[in-house]
Symmetry: C2
Subunit: 623 residues, 2 copies
């Protein structure tokens, strides 16, 4: 991976930062956030502005360019990748390390007095705007919205915004009709006495209308906004996809409906003016509910006194708690996914010793096996197929320049997943196709102990996920080891593989309490720069737990693994496990054998079945 040469681009950007054609007054710094106008994590090529200007294309990062400096903030998952992809024009700011300045502090330290800092108001979330604006103002600078995106002005071959056909999901997948979702949303609005609600996140629009799209790779969403009133529904969406008869019928666009369920379809680009019109029409005490992470531009469209901002929308919270149809769909998706991975690992075991399998070939093969499964749509994220030192690059994606050949001498880490019509998967397994060293086994076993500690944890109703994060690290901490990423994230149901409002992380973000029906990942790891990476990830469902007692009738919760793929026992130092942990592994493998074994049998995949049976032999503790 050679870095992108950005000298010329930065020169051009610094020119437009001073050009009266684009800015009212020159800006001394320009912020290029990661997201799109919907604050998506995964974005369409036309929105990859930060990657365009810097070369760094990880999923999280913010670039700031001043007249003399260019700096990139990203987190521990991407330290190595960003360092590889960016040239010497850029300074890497490692988030989470003690001495890394915040963007605001850094700006204040480098800017000349009375500077203007520009940003696209459609890209920056309102909460970030507020924080940054306040910090800059108190240091004598100004954060200013720059209407035209300055990256776009220098990006000559910028791709078009995608506008692909939609997929309609019937009740067997969603469990609830879009009409009932609107009814439930309006009841939440009535509870808070807020007559308007703006849907800005793409996965929230998709979930609300039981529609899916493919405008963004890996995330089955489409570019749209919605504004829901107590009696009106406005959907802002472009292209002729609303001409599709299936979509028209699904949304009942041509039926005679009660007016409060009649969807008005409007152009995507008209959201700002329509929202301004709603804002202007409000009577006192009427408010518009909008996420505090919505763009500054949309937030500003509603006068301040009429805004009702919350960190999580009622859709975000409702979407996180999967209903029975969604849970069953997720179970089916994970069974199919496990079948594909059993095939893959069986194949790898035979092929790797020949020295012909590269990281890219392995990733392609994983996709091939997944695509053979029913209702497969696409991958749910770029496959992390990494061997040896590449495994230590936490969100590595193999490209020809870095592509290593799998061997019997190195650890192989595969973090992959897919979108099926019935669910979304995300699973990481770490394998050795030869003989792992004692040290590799030791580290793997600590990671496994952490994985089990979370997966088997029992905790009271109302517990927030961040309270479980240390369970995943305890065994590593005991030996002075750790990993620089969170332990788990919410997973959508045939939706984004990363979703809020819950998660398991040491970062104290405003996570919502875990509830039965929520689905998160459990993925501790250990990474040794330049040597290897280990991660063990299951997707797990929050379920009620039976306990001996029931303090204050609060009830307890625990996790049920949805992912049912063997954890390589060859990598386990069984004598580092407690009997309880050993039993957990054996019970888990027993369930893999039963559930996935039956499906492999049904699909006539006998060789993979033999592999599964071999890989799920019970562990025996010698101690």
């Amino acid at each position: 991976m050679s870095p992108k040469i950005t000298t010329e681009l930065l020169k051009q950007l610094r020119q437009v930062m001073k050009s009266p054609k684009y800015v009212q007054e020159p800006v001394q710094a320009y912020i290029v956030p990661s997201g799109d106008a919907h604050q998506s994590e995964y974005i369409a090529p036309c929105d990859c502005r930060r990657a365009f200007i810097s070369g760094f294309d990880g999923s999280a990062g913010t670039a700031i360019v001043t007249e003399q400096h260019a700096a990139m903030w990203t987190d521990g998952r991407y330290f190595l990748q960003a360092a590889h992809q960016m040239d010497n024009n850029w300074t890497l700011m490692k988030l989470g390390l003690k001495d890394t300045p915040t963007q605001e502090d850094w700006l204040v330290s480098v800017l000349p007095e009375g500077s203007k800092v520009g940003v696209d108001p459609f890209i920056i979330p309102a909460d970030q705007w507020k924080r940054m604006s306040k910090a800059l103002r108190s240091a004598g600078h100004d954060l200013v919205p720059v209407k035209e995106n300055l990256i776009d002005t220098i990006w000559t071959d910028r791709p078009q915004r995608p506008c692909k056909p939609l997929i309609t999901l019937d009740l067997s997948y969603t469990g609830v009709t879009w009409r009932d979702k609107i009814v439930a949303l309006r009841s939440k609005m009535a509870e808070r006495k807020v007559p308007w609600f703006v849907v800005t996140a793409l996965d929230e629009v998709a979930w609300l209308f039981n529609l899916r799209g493919s405008d963004v790779e890996y995330n089955p969403v489409f570019f749209a906004y919605a504004v829901i009133g107590m009696n009106t529904i406005r959907l802002f969406i472009d292209g002729d996809r609303m001409m599709d008869p299936a979509v028209r019928e699904h949304l009942q666009l041509d039926s005679t409906l009660e007016p409060e369920f009649k969807i008005q379809v409007m152009p995507y680009g008209s959201i700002l003016s329509e929202l301004q019109a709603v804002g202007a029409s409000l009577s006192p005490k009427e408010k518009v509910w909008i996420s505090d992470k919505a763009s500054y531009a949309l937030t500003e469209a509603v006068p301040k006194a009429y805004r009702y901002l919350t960190p999580y929308t009622p859709i975000c919270i409702a979407k996180a708690v999967k209903n029975a149809s969604e849970t069953e769909g997720m179970r089916r998706a994970h069974i199919k996914d496990a079948v594909a991975l059993c095939e893959l690992f069986n194949w790898l075991e035979k092929e790797v010793p020949k020295g012909t399998v590269t990281e890219i070939i392995a990733a392609d093969k994983a996709e091939e096996f997944r695509s053979q499964q029913k209702d497969f749509v696409e991958l749910s994220f770029a496959t992390i197929s990494s061997t040896g030192p590449n495994g230590a690059i936490i969100h590595y994606k193999p490209v020809p320049e870095t592509n290593r050949t799998l061997s019997v001498n190195e650890i192989y880490l595969l973090d992959s997943g897919a979108q099926y019509r019935d669910g979304t998967t995300d699973v990481t397994r770490t394998m050795h196709f030869g003989t792992p060293s004692a040290y590799e086994k030791e580290c793997f076993t600590y990671v496994l102990k952490g994985h089990i500690a979370v997966s088997a944890a029992i905790f009271p109703n109302g517990t927030k996920g961040h309270l479980l994060d240390s369970f995943a690290r305890s065994a590593l901490w005991d030996c002075g080891l750790d990993y620089l990423h969170g332990t788990g994230h919410g997973v959508g149901s045939f939706l984004n593989v990363h979703e809020g409002p819950c998660g398991i992380s040491y970062k104290t973000f405003a996570d919502e309490p875990l509830e039965a029906g929520m689905i998160v990942s459990d993925e501790p790891g250990y990474y040794e720069d330049g040597s290897f990476g280990i991660r063990i990830e299951n997707v797990v469902l929050v379920i009620p737990a039976e306990t001996k007692y029931n303090f204050k009738n609060r009830g307890s919760l625990t996790f049920e693994p949805l992912t049912l793929v063997p954890i390589q026992t060859k990598m386990i130092d069984v004598n580092l496990l407690t009997q309880k942990e050993c039993n957990w592994v054996n019970d888990y493998h027993q369930k893999c054998r039963e559930v996935i074994g039956a499906e492999l049998e049904r699909q006539g995949r006998h060789e993979a079945l033999q592999w599964l049976i071999r890989e799920t032999e019970p562990l025996i503790r010698v101690q």
Copy 2:
């Protein structure tokens, strides 16, 4: 404990809330916070306004009185106590429960439109003012400062503010002179380019000047403020205590000193006008550093543009990391404290079966044994001496109305501590003087497992205490049990028994990372309302941990117990412990036997020594 009858008082308060003599405009609600003008947790009798108006005298709680309602917010430690102490005029608002409204939400729900909510600006912290003011304003109400404290106007026999003699601490106790502390503080001020610093917390004033007082029971502090400039030191303090020759010499008041170390002594009451004068004298870019928890009145004394607010002051952080002299002092204090408790428990074992020992007698006896120890000053908090159902009242203090007799049939919980000139102690032991039931032993053992999980935890440098809280709960959670308080708090060195900025709690407050030298408590519990209470508390020192590996050279930390008092093995169900936990108990008891045994020997306390040897017999796991 019969509730205080508050009908007449509330009537009087509601009258003054409307009286032009005290308020410019009538206030429809009046807030009575817990603290004093220094936001102290423990307060002098003259500041116990919330207890006066409500009857509830726990250490934490906020009262709000409106024309029709009176409500009290307090946390899980005090639910039972508050319910017992308050009459029917009061509604108890249980903090931490899901359905409990915030003070702001409750006010908005009960107030007529456009109400004024009054509060004493010297008592409410600036951060609380800001949050509450904002919430009230957005609902059309106003938070207004009421200069005269309205409680004081109806409190006819309100005690005088205490003004007791000071204690000077020499270098052997403090490790650092006050001059060197001023130098270090000024270097922190220079780092942040802030030329003024206001010391508002009583323990910070005491720590900075190496002085102690006795104005507040249990906390060896005195009423004072300080304002430190780069070249000036102003100490605001009343009374003739500055006439004491020892104090004058300690502070070098009569020496010819470099001007920047010359202390100007000013009246306590002149802080507001002096601070206003400092604020008015500032040139642009000069700021005044003040805690964001300082009173609204003092914060407002400095114009907004000149305020530099932080959640923790540099004194708070420096004070938390004990130096070698302080650590050695704390060790000595804990050894003496353990001697007193060995005497007490030996005495209780003999006396309880006679049926003559009440909770109050036991508490008094504990104080008697402590007072026999060298450098004993006073208790560090009101002794929680509770048996049977009283043990479930988390911060219970025995009074004649509730005083139970200890017996061989009930669990006895003693949470007590003392101030010695060389250190502050805080220890809880839970004992049974007969035969505990299997259920009591089971619960005790879960609590012990939690205690050990924290005490033995190894974690990376930079870890915040809240990440360790779940370790203390895990064994309880597994059985559906829990406790409704945090796991640990910072402990001062011959200072407040509760101090910031670190702690171990599920509440995500802004705790500072743990550092070697910090001292916290480790005190999980389990409480069964109406039956019993269990808590096991040690004070522990953060120390560097030796680990097998050292990820990114971060270094690791762990805890060393300073408290060395046997944990009653009779209460332990040894078969619920792992071998590792069992070893921890045995190692701990071995250390108690060696260290405290030697001191008991030295003090000639042979009977207590025999008791100690008996109580520290090693556990043996049968499994």
